[in-house]
Symmetry: C2
Subunit: 350 residues, 2 copies
DNA sequence: ATCACTTTCGGAAACGCTTCCGAAAAGAGT
DNA sequence: ACTCTTTTCGGAAGCGTTTCCGAAAGTGAT
């Protein structure tokens, strides 16, 4: 092999143009052995393996994933199904997932399902994409029909974020998170607390009462406070909607002295209208969010933090464990934590 | 539900368990014909096609992408290479890309390359993932070695966002964007303008002067103003770093009356320290960002908006066109736009 | 030397599809 | 009725791997 490598590199202008058969031939071994050498499997002499590997390297050879998967029976891909990609929380979860999964050598397919049409489309066409080893639904719930569809495909399903109860997965306790927020307000002495509650219009499954809503009711009840329906306004998940909601709250005969928002984004919207109304946060009105969005730190927003990226990585671990047939916990719920900054304070008139 | 389809459904518990051969047999046609029917190709009688399709539907059959691609020679996947997934801009670009690409029937592979290690890893292993039809690099520049690697693989490369000049792609004119920002400050009457400039430490290619930096110099020069090095502070891309930078700016003997930040996130960080110092925005100090992050609207931040998602969709279009062998523009640069909100105002002492 | 293993390796059969090529069938034109 | 086309379809050869199975060669003990 007189300097084979270099010569052959010129020969194959495009990497990956050669096949295992070429490698085998050049290495003077059979196809079977070449395959074994490439895949690190047992039963090939170290010297032989080295030779094959070297030739492969020189030729810039890489196994064809199609052929490999075809022969082996499909492994190595997982689909991420996400309702949003451009919101911090989802991005962070995806980030965590991607890191672990691709570390494990899996390919990560991304599917964005926004509205109902997307959903139908995804669940209809997923089989056509079959041979994903698993799908992870990030922060959304799958409807029964969809669930059945997944079932039929026989793929592993894992949930990351969100409040899905039926698939194994990792999440936070929304009720606990909400509770921390409202309790903080209560602790400061607030007695008239508003809530800006958000629902995702594209996630029709939200029939089940949201944990962050329940938390509000629980907390007020436990504090022996009446709950005034005027004080809670439900909107779509958007900061500007929250700004409007806040306006409504401010126009009440007896406005709240504090508002609990389902997310930081909402809280920021609320703060905008408060400030525009000439009031000050937290002196005149306290605002608390949930999430600990990176910008919460920059805007001095008090919030209850949830580990976003971590939900992704933990979900990946769980997925990996199950893929390997190892046992793994059914649900892992990650802790939340109150982060006090400068958007909450005791009410004025105490 | 005890009708037609159900019988066969019970038969194949797991969708996708049957092969084209089964379908062909059941439909009483050859494998070849079945294949043609499934792939909508020309040359099969409508009745035959319908029959095949019906059987396939009943059996929940879907073609195996591996086998299909193997036989046909790999098509249908594109890799997205992103330096961040959890920042708004990147998420938005990815969103746009995903939407168009998956509409076009392509699978979208996601690769996060954070630090230098990731990069090396990605470019080293990409060939192992070969048979992506294209890779789109979102908002980052590829080094020469990497470029050569891509070259060798013979895949189409497209850039989305970022300032890459060598690959076809879509972006904004950073210099123009920055110029709009600084000019706005100038227009308001500011003469002492600070800049908080950010670099991404993980993107070592940033040797080339950044457009948003140049804009600052250009604008000041054109306005006949001296440029005072004290007034520009360069940091890593992070809001809290920007907060610190702002602190430095405030402690100057002669602090700026306005600061231009390379991004909204930075601007928010700057605003935090201004407020904590007991100063008011925009009364005491004007702040302007770049991006039009969704939260900029909520925080009343003046900024110059760039279309984020759109860069993704346009890049996808460009990619698609090239994949189809159609000509397409080499570079498309999208417009930016000044969005005046409430973080900028004329300087106090004018 | 012989025997019983253990390693190392090659042949060949899948894996599930696409597609070239040619044959049979069905229309068209005269 | 008889060619000449056009349509529809089947046979079969790949596509590039993996892996089962058995053969050959090497190892150590007897």
């Amino acid at each position: 092999m007189d300097t084979v490598g270099t010569a052959s590199i010129h020969f194959s202008a495009v990497a990956g143009r050669s096949s295992l058969a070429d490698i085998a031939r050049l290495a003077g071994v059979s196809l079977a052995t070449a395959s074994r050498a490439m895949s690190n499997s047992y039963g090939v002499a170290p010297a032989t393996r080295a030779r094959v590997l070297r030739i492969a390297e020189e030729l810039d050879y890489v196994v064809s994933p199609e052929a490999s998967r075809l022969a082996r029976g499909a492994v190595g891909r997982v689909a991420l199904v996400v309702p949003h990609v451009d919101r911090w929380f989802f991005g962070a979860v995806i980030g965590g997932l991607e890191a672990e999964l691709s570390d494990a050598g899996l390919d990560v397919l991304l599917y964005h399902v926004g509205d109902a049409d997307d959903r139908r489309d995804f669940f209809h066409r997923l089989p056509a994409r079959r041979k994903v080893d698993a799908v992870v639904v990030v922060a959304f719930e799958v409807a029964d029909a969809e669930r059945e569809r997944l079932e039929r495909m026989g793929v592993l399903v894992v949930a990351a974020g969100g409040q899905d109860e039926v698939y194994p997965g990792v999440r936070i306790d929304d009720r606990e998170a909400g509770r921390r927020a409202v309790d903080h307000l209560l602790f400061l002495g607030h007695r008239r607390i508003g809530m800006i509650s958000a629902v995702d219009p594209d996630q029709p499954v939200a029939a089940r009462p949201h944990g962050r809503d329940q938390a509000y009711h629980d907390a007020l009840r436990d504090a022996g406070l009446p709950i005034d329906d005027e004080l809670v306004v439900t909107i779509e998940w958007s900061g500007v909607a929250a700004a409007d909601a806040m306006a409504a709250l401010l126009s009440l005969r007896s406005p709240p002295t504090a508002v609990y928002c389902h997310s930081d984004e909402l809280a920021l919207g609320a703060i905008r209208t408060i400030r525009r109304a000439g009031l000050r946060v937290p002196e005149d009105l306290s605002v608390i969010g949930v999430d600990d969005h990176p910008l919460a730190e920059l805007t001095d927003l008090t919030t209850v933090a949830q580990p976003a990226r971590d939900q992704g990585v933990r979900a990946a671990h769980l997925l990996l464990a199950r893929l390997r047939g190892q046992g793994s916990p059914q649900h892992v719920v990650l802790p939340t934590r109150l982060v006090i900054r400068r958007s909450t304070a005791p009410p004025r008139e105490v």
